[in-house]
Symmetry: C5
Subunit: 354 residues, 5 copies
């Protein structure tokens, strides 16, 4: 539950645009790195003060800033103004409980979405918020913590593989988003396997533990859906929008990200349908089992109650009970009871109870 509700409430009453960090502190310290590239060269270095940013921004080539760690509000705000970002953008970057969204501020566009990862310790997925600023020849990437998922992109830039060096800042933004969305598939494959395992165990034997797992998976799905669903509009707005920052060629690629997002959403909906239908199986399995148990009870009671009544009769102490004196009385009664039991069993067999 905890992660469903981040503590936003302490923001209430603060002036709008006040930067406050909402979310866990996920990295030791804030770190700013720069990767500068053009057709010919790639240079990488660390940035320690906002002033370096200002100096760097004017030059030619593409500047890709990566800011890791969002808890140092003051430093982040300083960098934010070095980048000439709107106070609301800084506020949104700091608030890691954002709904994925896209905002066009004219000079730059702001994109915020979620990275999903498998948790190594618990079966739940983890999410981290990723903020992206795409400006003229500039990309700023805000991460909650260090992550290797963008190492492939860095390697390609360094080795001049792919067309990234030529295609500029907007293509870099596409590559970063594509990377994150491709990662979603890994998460959903894991989830798909967990659902499959659960389904097999539900059919084999419905326990209340499997109900717990089912419920946990449903909540997980609810949570992932909330993280992924709005991304569709974000990518669509990017692709169809009229921002001059995005070239037509990149739009073709963004259409591909859009298709992947739709595919992920389809998968989520399919999984949700499957989980609902598994609850139905569980409930009807329970009913089935109850029926089985009750049948056993009924058979036992129906066979033995009449027999116990009969032996009760001949346990009565009346002085004049002629049967008691007969020498064949006992065997005859035993025979009678065997017949009754036999009839009952035939009856149940014909009702297909046994």
């Amino acid at each position: 539950m905890a992660r469903h509700v981040k503590k936003r409430s302490h923001k209430a009453g603060l002036p709008p645009g006040t930067p406050v960090h909402i979310g866990e502190r996920k990295s030791e310290s804030m770190r700013v790195t720069l990767m500068h590239f053009n057709d010919e060269r790639v240079t990488e270095r660390d940035i320690s003060t906002p002033d370096e940013v200002r100096a760097q921004r004017e030059g030619p080539g593409v500047n890709w800033f990566t800011i890791t760690g969002l808890h140092d509000v003051e430093k982040l705000t300083a960098f934010g103004s070095a980048f000439d970002l709107h106070p609301l953008v800084i506020e949104d970057v700091l608030n890691t409980d954002q709904r994925p969204k896209f905002e066009d501020y004219g000079e730059y566009v702001y994109i915020v979405f979620k990275r999903l990862g498998n948790n190594t310790t618990t079966p739940d997925s983890v999410t981290e918020q990723i903020s992206l600023i795409l400006g003229r020849n500039m990309v700023i990437l805000f991460l909650e913590s260090e992550s290797e998922i963008f190492d492939g992109i860095k390697d390609r830039l360094r080795s001049n593989r792919g067309r990234m060096r030529k295609l500029g800042a907007d293509f870099l933004v596409y590559a970063l988003m594509d990377n994150v969305v491709d990662n979603y598939f890994a998460i959903f494959e894991t989830l798909g396997e967990r659902i499959e395992t659960l389904q097999d165990s539900l059919i084999a034997k419905p326990t209340s533990e499997s109900l717990q797992v089912l419920h946990a998976l449903k909540r997980e799905m609810l949570f992932l859906r909330k993280s992924v669903w709005p991304l569709r509009e974000v990518v669509s707005a990017l692709q169809r929008g009229d921002s001059p920052l995005i070239q037509n060629e990149t739009r073709t690629y963004l259409r591909d990200v859009y298709d992947h997002t739709i595919h992920v959403i389809d998968t989520i909906e399919t999984y949700r349908d499957m989980l609902s239908s598994m609850l139905d199986i569980y409930l009807s399995s329970l009913s089935n089992r109850l029926n089985e148990v009750i049948k056993v009870l009924t058979i036992i009671a129906t066979v033995f109650m009449p027999l116990t009544f009969i032996v009760g009769i001949y346990g009565m102490n009346f002085r004049y009970m002629p049967e008691l004196g007969w020498s064949w009385g006992y065997p005859l009664v035993l025979l009678l009871m065997a017949v009754i039991a036999g009839v009952m069993l035939v009856f149940f067999r014909r009702k297909k109870w046994i």
Copy 2:
């Protein structure tokens, strides 16, 4: 229930635009205060007659009127005409059972929405209606009762913190709305905790009390949803509308309020889904429990009915029952019964009932 249906019916048959107060009387008396501010100065004072309003309205700077208490229909109507408000606006301000809405009257825009608060005595939330008029250099805020939630804004105006003094009446309206929406998060954090508590208790032991709580939470959610959902359109209409009263810079900020509203609505929907799924858990827990109880009954009956039958046999009073005379008869019967009971228990063990 009571609060779901406010007594509107006594309005039927009255001429349209007739001001009638609908809702509880929440404050002792009606009070009108004025906060006048411009770039340089802030002055605050109480207003006692509509004529003062008329005198004040013409001056430069922004006039922020706050009217607290809505039960004095006559006085409110008088102030309404001093502000040149349409009779329908006064009618809507008085009727605290409004759906959130936005209406553009040309000279001014009228916004009505809900403030949520935690009730100190019952677990239910409380709502109060807030009406806002944004005119040229004028903001009128109608409140059902005194509230501290806007004190932060007043302080910022007084101390000239933030950019509020410069940004004028529309930014003030934004700040008021933002404040209220930020407050929603606090309510939903409380609700989220209540849902979490309920969920834990439902899994541990499903009682009919927890069902009552579940039901109460569902109704609460229904009620909050009705209060919050239409706000989305209101903010969207404000942000995208073409009223000249709202400057472009403020629209950027309103987009932020819009995002928060969507976020709250997402949270409501997630909670509703969680509550539905908790009802399923509850019902299947009940079924599970029934199964357990019935199993106990069946095991007991299945073990003891045959045994009782056997002892019944040797309780019969037939004269010729050879077993009764055997010296090993009694121990042999006891042994037989022990074997039967043992077989039954093995059978149930293999069925995994025990």
Copy 3:
């Protein structure tokens, strides 16, 4: 049920535009009254022939015709042509099983919707169809039966209260619609109270009678929804349409009616959600009760079956049963049984069954 399906089938095969009265006959005879008003004067009189209509229509001022009673098809058709109404309009006026709708015929607009009323004898609501024609300086109101709900409007016209005399025919139409919609709130307050009562009784003790009531309320809601829902589009079409018959000032008022309609629809949806959720409560209450009953059965069986078995043992007639001869045999067996019963009860107590 009956009222859900009115006998329309006997219309099949008739030429389009054939006037046939569908619905119950609700008034003794058809009556046409005229209220003529302008800024200065109000005159009222009865109209007996269509020719009087023709004479009257040409004059200045607003003519408000009220036609009560729809069963006299011929007379109504005659009046219809005196008003120059399209045959389809007459057909629709006569068919009281209309879905609320708005149609613009150029020279006039035709509006049909439903009036709701509490039935004095049964808990069901009653509906009557109201047809309105708005022409140039003319309003025609068709009613199924005499009703007092428009008396307030007539009084205001007579006493020149409100602005009705000045604002003309379209404002009169607005006033009539507003009146009817305001009336809806009364119906829904009654329903809200019935739902509240039902809910309390369901929680206290779920009986099959309360299920019947629940079901009846659901059907009632279905029925009211069908009557109210389409009104939203009707009012919206009136308010946003471009008919020159409706002045801009009236549109502002119609927006208010629109808001009220949305409010009513919201209430219906909330009630439907509440009723659904009450069915869940009912069903889980039933399950809960079943569990309780079964627990009693299981406890009784589990305690007494072993005891009955033990007393059975010592009722056997074996010749060599040493215990029977012991002088402490009887008390020891009684003690043993008390211990067994005690252990059982402790076991159930720990399972929280008792």
Copy 4:
């Protein structure tokens, strides 16, 4: 079931536009009749060869061709080319498993929809497909079998009642559609009565037979919905479309058909809601009954198990059981048992079980 899936599969692999008859053969032979009318005269005759069609088409006045029986593929194709119809139209006319649709081919429009009828032998409804071609001064009506539902229209044309002779081909198309839609009401009245009957019987006594009926009605509704729902778009496209074949006056009439279609769809949705809610009633009735049965069992067991235990005690054969020797022993035990039974009954009475 059968009728839900018509054998379309044997069409797979055939070239597009290949005419294949899909559906049952419903009439003996194909018959083509012509009704030619203008303001002054109506002539009727049978057409036997496609060439007669070609000769007839050029003349003045409106030609209404009715083609009954669709199984003679070759002949129909020949007529199709005499009418200059697109091969896809002929293919669609022959395939009686069409979804209602409207297609504008420029020279003519093609409309296909369903006629509903009560089956005389089974409670299911029957559907037949109706195809309509509206060309310049020409209407072609394709029917699966002879039917009297259009006799009224023919009579009116013959007797010059109504305005049909004057209003031309498009009004004739309207009249045919109106006739079919008016017929829907009859079907739904029958269904409404069946639902009402079922509801009464479900409340009185829920049997598995009534569940079968409920299920059959749900499927019927699913099937009718599929036949009627798309008609809405068809009529809307006809009414709002810009085909020059449809005059403005006819559009007014088509709006009326549109309203009727919406009304039918509303009725279907209401019935579906009612049927769903009846399933809930059925299920909770079952639960209720189970509770009742279990209560009887529990009461009997709870009263007699302790009593049987007590009589068992005094059936034991211990030598030293002092009570057995008391002269008041027997009556005292009887009294004790009466008291126990009485206490039990009071207990159950207070639990409101009896």
Copy 5:
């Protein structure tokens, strides 16, 4: 399950546009065939190198390339550049886990959708992805494996039946799509029969096996829906789009494919509704059965418990039990018990339990 989630995750981290084959390898080797046709002649041959493609493309007439087998990534990429295809298209062709889509690349359009087939070994359907490129006078068809479903089209081209030779590349694309969609009907007829069989067996006797089948059919439907649903937009985009590659005449035909797709989707939705409603039947059947079993138990217990109590009374060993000495005691007790049993049976008969 396996087929619901294809292993896409190993793509994460690769540069966009990297061709990777996702899916099973379904054919031995990749094969490229060419069918060249114009009004006069059809020639067919195999293509072994990309250079042949380049030579062929420039000539007149329509070139229809069929590429079967998608696992040879390198070769396919080489052919892709010979066709001047965008790297993303090659990536999408290789990834057989695509959602059906349509993309307009200006010079050519790219269409991807699914072919359904009945599996010969399991009851599940199989899907294969079909990619289509429509360029100027060129069609490229990518298949996962050899299939005979397009043999009919080839035959028609060879024999100059139909109008395909004349109507060019876009009509060929239409014919291919139409063929695949017509094939869907066969699949759904099979499914319809399986649903019908299941329904009959559910009504006759609800077993947990039939629940498994029901569940499998629901999943199947979920899966087919995912494959078919997006095709609607694809065909709609093709038909309404403004690509100059598609002639107006072909658009008329595409409208027909669109109607068929809608029809298939309608069928899927109807089947889903039917399956849901069958689950309800199953669950209420279970409840019904439980009721029956419990009734048997209750009747048996209610009849025999009182009787066993009575015989227990006269089995007590009290010295003074006057009844025991009566000569009519035994027959009287037997009579009494017969009366009690009779009364019970009458009671149950009147409750309609037996």
